[in-house]
């Protein structure tokens, strides 16, 4: 009567094969991909955070941590960003170029975007193509060509600040056009047509209707231009005449190839904060202006994506 059926215990799995089963279980969540993605994020961002950490190091080393200090920002009387004349002038030059770039490239780019979106005559297609090329031309090719332009054709410009501003504007215009044009397409023409039906001339419709609608895109593109100008290394370097016309990225490049002090990390950190603040501000303004619009979220994503893909 007593037929005791011995229940076979499942074979004990090793820790490794249980882990593998957990990781690759096809019916569970894609844990391998989750792990992979987060590892990528760690790899992409942690080195930068470590570089930021060492900008606060209390010694001259960029590799051995010796306590927190702000000496490389302003404490050190010789080598800090605040006291080192090279670093200070580099920061000033970077900000000067970025400001001039925003002031020149934004209006030109906005006008070009509106013009290209509304004009369909014979010149519009070549102009459209021309606008796209700076986005894909390798910077070294642009740097060489602008250098030769300013040293052999427009010799009155030469190298230096003016040349750098002209170069920055040249690669920035296309970014403005791409961002503003995305917004123009999503607005459509109906508002302007309504204004025209109500008797507004094209200029009035533009000023009273289109421009207010374009404000978020204009501010966003100004922020992006500021950021890409601060970030630029190649064009600034090719058009620099040394000394005071060297920007922060040029100094980082020079210092990295020689023997960098933590002050290099400090100035790089300052630049990173400036760029991220500018881009975030641009994004928040865009969000605030387009809130409540139908598909607003999608547009912001599409606009941001267009801007980023162009980079």
């Amino acid at each position: 009567m007593t037929t005791a059926v011995e229940v076979q215990a499942p074979p004990r799995l090793s820790a490794w094969s249980r882990f593998r089963g957990w990781l690759t279980n096809p019916w569970g969540r894609p844990r391998f991909l989750t792990l992979f993605t987060w590892m990528y994020m760690v790899w992409a961002l942690i080195p930068v955070l470590i570089a930021v950490q060492f900008s606060f190091n209390d010694s001259r080393s960029r590799t051995v941590w010796q306590g927190f200090s702000t000496r490389w920002y302003w404490g050190d009387p010789v080598d800090s960003v605040w006291h080192d004349p090279t670093l200070r002038s580099a920061l000033a030059q970077s900000l000067k170029l970025a400001t001039a770039d925003v002031l020149i490239a934004t209006p030109i780019g906005v006008l070009l975007a509106i013009g290209l979106a509304r004009w369909s005559g014979w010149g519009s297609r070549p102009s459209n193509f021309l606008m796209l090329f700076p986005l894909v031309t390798p910077e070294i090719v642009m740097g060489v060509s602008l250098l030769l332009l300013f040293t052999h054709v427009f010799t009155f410009v030469g190298t230096g600040t003016t040349a750098q501003i002209l170069g920055h504007v040249t690669f920035s215009i296309s970014f403005v056009v791409v961002i503003v044009r995305g917004r123009l397409f999503s607005i459509g023409r109906q508002y302007e047509e309504a204004a025209a039906d109500l008797g507004a001339s094209p200029t009035v419709a533009l000023y009273r209707v289109l421009l207010p609608l374009l404000t978020p895109a204009i501010i966003a593109s100004a922020a992006v231009v500021f950021a890409i100008s601060l970030d630029d290394f190649v064009i600034s370097q090719w058009l620099s005449k040394g000394g005071e016309t060297d920007t922060v990225p040029i100094q980082i490049y020079a210092a990295t190839r020689a023997a960098p002090l933590p002050s290099t990390n400090a100035i790089a950190t300052i630049m990173m904060v400036l760029t991220l603040v500018s881009v975030t501000a641009g994004y928040l303004v865009w969000r605030a202006f387009t809130r409540g619009e139908r598909r607003a979220g999608r547009e912001a994503v599409e606009g941001g994506r267009a801007a980023v893909e162009m980079r």
Binding site: R29, A44, V48, G115, L135, T137, H152, V153, D231, R305
Partner: protein, 297 residues
């Protein structure tokens, strides 16, 4: 009358700017590359008339790049580095983009922000970060010697091809993941469901539906990062600086900034630009087509 000229008038300043400061400079490079050199001052003399062009410099650059030429090694190295870096970027980038587009759920916005962040961190700052980490007493060497993977700290920054390739991947991969993400995110989920309903396994759904639909993103991302990689000179300079890792961009940089022979540099630039024109045209054509679709949509 004024209505007819209003919109072209808007486009005029930008178009003129790009003609004067983008197209004319190209012609300036070509004029220098096909020009002559002042025998006394050794300065390049551009020749603007195509009928008087001197092809000597271009021929010289092509001879250097040809097999047995002085730069053959550089040319092969550039192509190999870019090819390996592209392959690695795709291998790392595709799963990341796929996960964020398909499975990230509530963490999607956070992951997107983290994905975009490196684009707004200066390229040289990111290279500096690795120079710090790879220094003889940096974290990488200390970790590897602590775990006894290496008996002694290794000189990572002394002209290693692997360091340069990994630096290229690190530098450019964020620019590739975004187009990949955009392409994968756009795929309509009903296509995938249809494939599964018709009995396809997850793997064959991926192979026959997801992969073909993301082809545009793969090509776009690859072209987008291949172009700047081919013209890169600063990455090898920063993480290696040794002649055995120099790329074609380093030759251009050298002849302009150190070698004092801008004509050779200009001729090399023309050859490089001609080589890259196909890639550039492909990319411009796809953006143009996309914007035409947006315009008519």
């Amino acid at each position: 009358m004024y209505r007819r000229w209003l919109w072209p008038g808007f486009a005029l300043p930008g178009t003129v700017w790009l003609i004067v400061l983008f197209l004319v400079p190209f012609y300036a490079v070509v004029a220098v590359a096909f020009g002559s050199v002042d025998p006394i001052l050794l300065q390049p003399v551009p020749v603007w008339n195509p009928l008087e062009w001197n092809v000597g410099w271009i021929v010289e650059v092509l001879e250097r790049l040809a097999p047995n030429g002085e730069w053959f090694g550089v040319a092969v190295r550039t192509i190999v580095y870019v090819a390996i870096a592209l392959g690695l970027s795709l291998l790392i980038g595709y799963p990341v983009a796929y996960y964020i587009a398909r499975h990230a759920g509530r963490t999607k916005s956070l992951l997107l922000i983290l994905l975009i962040a490196p684009l707004w961190i200066n390229y040289l700052m990111r290279m500096l970060a690795w120079v710090n980490l790879l220094a003889p007493d940096g974290y990488v060497n200390r970790f590897l010697t602590y775990t006894h993977v290496l008996a002694e700290p290794r000189d990572w920054l002394g002209g290693r091809a692997s360091t340069v390739i990994l630096a290229l991947v690190y530098g450019y991969i964020p620019f590739m993941i975004l187009p990949l993400f955009a392409a994968l995110d756009r795929i309509d989920r009903s296509h995938l469901e249809a494939a599964r309903d018709l009995g396809a396994s997850p793997f064959s759904t991926f192979l026959h539906v997801t992969l073909p639909l993301s082809k545009a993103g793969i090509l776009g991302g690859a072209v987008l990062i291949a172009l700047p990689m081919f013209g890169d000179y600063y990455t090898p300079n920063v993480v290696s600086g040794a002649p055995q890792t120099s790329m074609i961009g380093n030759q251009i940089d050298f002849y302009f900034h150190y070698g004092g022979q801008p004509t050779i540099g200009a001729a090399t630039t023309v050859v490089l630009a001609a080589f890259l024109t196909v890639l550039m045209a492909y990319y411009v054509w796809t953006i143009h087509r996309a914007s035409q679709e947006a315009r008519t949509a």
